[in-house]
């Protein structure tokens, strides 16, 4: 019984492709969730969803030029994502449009353009590959890219942490005492794009958002301040990656790996929503006696 369990847990990782997938997802689990925490706290959760659509035309353009080539599609995705992020940021800062509206405009254009580009050449199968990724086919280059993005993200977050928090809490104050608000905002958007592009190698454009946001939202039920939210979100993401990979390998039916990981994160979210100590639903059912003061 225990042997069987152990075999189920460890067995999959006797294979190189599973180990690679695990390493890639773990690296992503360290960098994407902290960004998700900031997105969530800035009420920009859906913004990353929009950004993931914005990456599509770039990846498609790369695909159109060079076929299923990692560097071409990565570069294309980065360029398209950064262009949409910067354009939306610029329009927000210089017109009366709010961020969500300007971003929606640009990502819709980008998404339509992306689907158009893919349909010019590729078949449905290729489109599915771009949308849903291929975590079990991570080669050395893809792993290096994910590792690099993860490293850069953590270093940049450490460097930008203070102004980023201030930009989230009180952007007007930051504007009156320094000019870093704008650059920090753009740097943050760039980090989001980089992580989505890295995640899109493993999970595809749509599911990359899942590993960024679900752990962050889940963490909200376990921790109340940033020093708790960020580590908890990383932990949730690590757990979701390991569970998703293992389950998808052992499943009797064919369970695609990318969706399995995001589904695992989804299950962790629902469980946390029910039993989490910070505003979980079950806590609400039990009315606790109020304090004296």
């Amino acid at each position: 019984m225990i042997d069987a369990l152990l075999a189920g847990l460890v067995g999959p990782y006797e294979f190189g492709f599973m180990r690679r997938a695990l390493v890639g997802c773990l690296a992503l689990s360290l960098s994407a969730p902290p960004l998700g925490v900031f997105l969530m706290l800035r009420r920009m959760s859906l913004m990353s969803e929009a950004m993931s659509h914005a990456i599509l035309p770039g990846a498609a353009a790369g695909f159109l030029v060079a076929g299923l080539s990692l560097p071409a599609m990565t570069l294309g995705g980065l360029v398209a994502g950064l262009a949409v992020a910067l354009l939306a940021g610029f329009v927000t800062r210089s017109t009366m449009l709010k961020e969500d509206a300007s971003l929606a405009a640009f990502y819709l254009i980008a998404l339509a353009g992306g689907v158009f580009l893919v349909s010019l050449r590729g078949s449905q199968v290729d489109l599915l590959h771009i949308l849903f990724g291929s975590v079990l086919a991570l080669d050395d280059d893809a792993l290096r890219l994910i590792g690099g993005v993860s490293t850069v993200t953590l270093l940049a977050l450490a460097a930008l942490y203070r102004p980023l928090v201030m930009e989230c809490v009180d952007p007007l104050y930051l504007r009156t005492v320094s000019r870093t608000g704008g650059p920090v905002h753009y740097a943050f958007l760039a980090l989001v794009v980089m992580n989505l592009v890295a995640g899109f190698q493993a999970l595809g454009t749509l599911l990359a958002v899942g590993l960024m946001l679900l752990p962050a939202i889940t963490a909200r039920f376990w921790a109340s301040d940033l020093s708790g939210l960020i580590p908890v979100s990383m932990l949730v993401s690590v757990l979701a990656s390991a569970i998703g990979l293992t389950v998808s390998y052992n499943a009797e039916i064919r369970l695609p790996t990318g969706p399995a990981i995001v589904l695992a994160a989804g299950v962790l979210y629902i469980v946390s929503m029910l039993i989490g100590p910070r505003g979980g639903l079950l806590r609400r059912l039990v009315r606790q006696r109020h304090l004296e003061a």
């Binding site: 203070r162 102004p163 201030m166 809490v169 007007l172 104050y173 009156t176 320094s178 940033l226």
Partner: protein, 277 residues
Amino acid sequence: MSEAIRLHCLTLGYDRHPAVHHLDGAIAEGDLLALVGPNGAGKSTLLKGLVGEIPVLDGRIERGPAKAGIAYLPQAAEIDRGFPLSVLDLVAMGLWRRLGAWRSLGRGRAACEAAIAAVGLSGFEARPIGTLSGGQFQRALFARLIVQDARVILLDEPFTGIDARTVGDLIALIRGWHAQGRTVVAALHDFAQVRAHFPMTLLLAREPIAWGPTAAVLTPENLERARQLSEAWDETAAICRHDHDVHDHGQDHDHAAHASHDHHHGHAHGSQREAAE
């Protein structure tokens, strides 16, 4: 006495419509200036202009030595109170100019705690800002102003929705800043408060009505004129042909002069003449 801020025929506004129209004058260093006028008179706009939050439509602002050291408390702070941040962290934001992005809080922590004690929030350091009441939150923002240690402090209706006791405490803080020689400009609505605590007053109604010692500015005639002027808003207003040379005398008088004839600024723009015709 040197000037903290000088305004040269300053026009501020939105969509080319002026909200502050041809304002000349100087705020002396160490002034405790009340900014009064009806709603829509341009008080907030002027403060936003002074802090550089909105662009100048015409004229210019000379910030002098205060350039780097203007602290600003907006009317409705854009602060996201749902963000999980402690009172101490909020107050510590005031140290930005000294610490920047990377230096550690270090001895700044003591300064923050002292400021929190000064506004009467001792014991609240670790509380999330989302759990504070309106008055407590305003106290915390005043603590951040203390920590900012700026030479010029701009307050936009700092007492809206604040109870009498808190207002008393905060006014005591403002008077303390005045005693330290800081320049304080506050947009206010309560004339009794202004008469009691603010030696200088600028009465605005988009056009400057009067600027000088409070008793001379807050006269019934001035207030009536302010009320009438501020209600005019013309969607199809023509481009302002106001000639810059005609009233250059607004710039050549010094602060002492404007203290002695306090209606000068109103004249400077010629609005009184127009009103009389």
